[in-house]
Subunit: 411 residues, 2 copies
């Protein structure tokens, strides 16, 4: 442990305290963005920010900032943070750890009486998960001008409630300025993969993100009686979708462990056991570090869809969203983090993020760096998501010294 170190028990206790808001029976959380549970968690976060002496502000997309002033007026703030919304069900650490570690770092500087030249702001980005409102990474995308505020405000959940309505409902519609200059952005996160665990390393130095892809696949058949209609007359789009899902999962497995591809969501109409559906829509998603290999996976899926469509007579339309291309984080900050981790005696590993993170939206805005810690068996977006307290502390101590170095650097 370095001489200047965070309080690991305080960090752990804060994390487990926040996890009680929207707590699920097996230990996870259900705290979808801008729900009452998210609102309660935000209230608690604001209370903690104020207890720590931070100046709190909220911007028009609901991002919350807790600012510790620097000694030199006019310098841009160093940002540190992540998000406290979760999937449904989600885990206790995904996002939350990055926000609370940032807060604990600022408390640590206070306890040690250390000032910094640059201000440091802890940020909780709104709707990182995208599970209730599309798109995810919403708060960071709006802050950096990559997503229009009005468009984000108009996004509606499945019940028809807009982001603007939900923000107003939980009193999180602020007027703090967006698009401000930011010196740099740091985000600590569980890996959501098992490369650190497999390699037995503690600190992941994240060089950037991998290519991500999504596509909506629509299969169109014809309603018919699900028992009386002769098999030869049936045009069941669910049967075609099932074949294509099997093909997509196989493509994912053939590209593992480097790439991934699979299907997690599906809807069908009318979804009555006695009526063959006329329409099935599902989404595939995948990752790959290499855009050429990603393109090849996509083409394999399209070819499988065409073959199944020809053979079954079911129309299949693959509507691919543009790839979320790989983003590079700041090489200088990667070296900084790697050096600090080494000084503190932690093993490190360079890797790229397969999941989406607000850091991907911040990377074009300012020098950005993520720090990963091991995630049990690579499982997240799950009640069983887990990480070790000493790894959380290790990542937070690396984060602390990276913040300090960056906020106090000369020039």
């Amino acid at each position: 442990m370095p001489r200047l170190a965070i309080d690991p028990d305080r960090l752990w206790s804060d994390t487990l305290t926040l996890a009680q808001i929207g707590a699920l029976p097996a230990g996870g959380c259900d705290r979808l963005a801008l729900t009452e549970a998210d609102g309660a968690a935000r209230s608690l976060l604001r209370y903690w920010f104020e207890q720590a002496g931070l100046a709190v502000s909220i911007d028009p997309i609901g991002n919350i900032f807790g600012r510790r002033e620097g000694t030199e007026p006019g310098l841009a703030p160093v940002f540190v943070g992540s998000h406290i919304d979760t999937q449904s069900p989600g885990g206790k650490f995904d996002g939350v750890l990055g926000v609370l570690a940032g807060l604990e770092c600022l408390r640590t500087l206070d306890r040690a009486g250390i000032a910094t030249r640059h201000p440091i702001e802890v940020v909780n980005w709104t709707n990182e998960e995208g599970a209730r409102f599309a798109p995810g990474l919403m708060g960071s995308a709006v802050f950096t001008g990559q997503l229009d505020l009005a468009t984000a405000h108009a996004s509606r959940d499945p019940a028809g409630i807009s982001v603007a309505q939900a923000l107003a409902q939980i009193r999180q519609l602020g007027d703090a300025p967006m698009g401000r200059p930011v010196d740099s952005y740091f985000e600590l996160h569980i890996e959501q993969g098992d490369r650190l665990q497999q390699a037995g390393r503690t600190i992941g130095v994240v060089e950037g993100s991998e290519h991500n892809c999504f596509a909506d696949v629509t299969c169109l058949g014809d309603n018919a009686h699900a028992q009386a209609t002769p098999m030869g007359q049936r045009r069941n789009p669910l049967a075609a979708a099932a074949e294509l899902i099997t093909a997509i999962e196989a493509i994912g497995h053939r590209n593992a462990p480097v790439g991934s591809m699979g299907v997690a969501s599906l809807r069908l109409w009318p979804n009555n056991r006695i009526n063959i559906p006329h329409r099935v829509v599902f989404t595939y998603s995948g990752t790959h570090p290499d855009s050429v290999a990603m393109g090849a996976m996509r083409r394999e899926i399209t070819a499988a869809a065409a073959e199944i469509s020809r053979r079954t007579g079911i129309a299949i339309e693959v509507e691919a969203s543009p790839d979320r291309p790989a983003v590079d984080f700041d090489p200088g900050l990667a070296d900084l983090v790697e050096g600090i981790a080494g000084e503190q005696g932690f093993s490190t590993m360079r890797l790229r993020s397969r999941a989406g993170h607000d850091a991907i939206r911040m990377a074009p805005w300012c020098p950005t760096q993520m720090i990963f810690i091991p995630c049990k068996d690579g499982i997240s977006h799950s009640e069983y998501e887990d990480c070790r307290q000493d790894d959380a502390a290790a990542g937070s101590n690396v984060l602390l010294h990276a913040l300090l170095a960056r906020a106090n650097r000369a020039g």
Copy 2:
């Protein structure tokens, strides 16, 4: 055409008029049981019954009866009917034709000044389809004591509205006696299969029903990030469900054209594209005239589920409902219908029903007979469900003379 014949234009015009209530763009209907649309259709039916001089009554499960008195007091009524609720989407003919043909038969007797010894009642059974409230064949099951009234009243739709509430809402909660003696029951229906069309026959003499089966299949995996989780760590129940659906559809095709087996409905949780589901539930359903072959299909499915479960590590539970066993209709009435059809110059074919019908619930109660007419390409439960006007008229004329023979028989 026989000397005494229904008015085919009136029957067709009534059918197309009723189809405007809940009309869908491509020509079908969305008139789920006890909705506002079903209520409007019931009002129109009652108006037509009263115009035809029938005495209208409604029982506590909402079955509507239109009674034409007989000449001999105390004789049990001959019933003729079907249902006017539809699937969503559903067609114009499934059910509706049987009710309106019954009505047109009684009008025809009036026009010809023909009295019958037995009363004849046209009946619209409540919730035949079972698409909104489970189980289907509800009205006939309650009338004949095969389903408890309180149980049926307590059945709730996905929005939590009970049958009792829905009946009250559309003012269809009556007090006419149930479980009355019935002389016999006749039901005219489109085939919902293509055996008549394939064979070029006009009148299907229905000997009974085939075995029907349903089972709910639950696949249990684990939530996880749908992109970042390594393929080898994923336990995606949708992938297992897709394989099993493919196996089930293949079993259906191997048993065609005699048997059928397939999957039309599926639900998954949480159904978010970025979160691997923890639970998938789907229903398979099938038909076969032979209970041994049906059992063999079921065992094949269970074996496929066990193999997929072993290979993927996804728990799969197959919860089979009891088979709806084959029911035999009345052989004497089948001979009667066949003879009448032959006298009228129509080609006939003996077959069994693959779909569920209220006649299946009536068969244990009184001598029962169904008459099928050809159904375009075997398609029903679809906006594209279709039949020919001359086939509808042919079936109705056979029905008319069967009713007349039965209601006027000696003894």
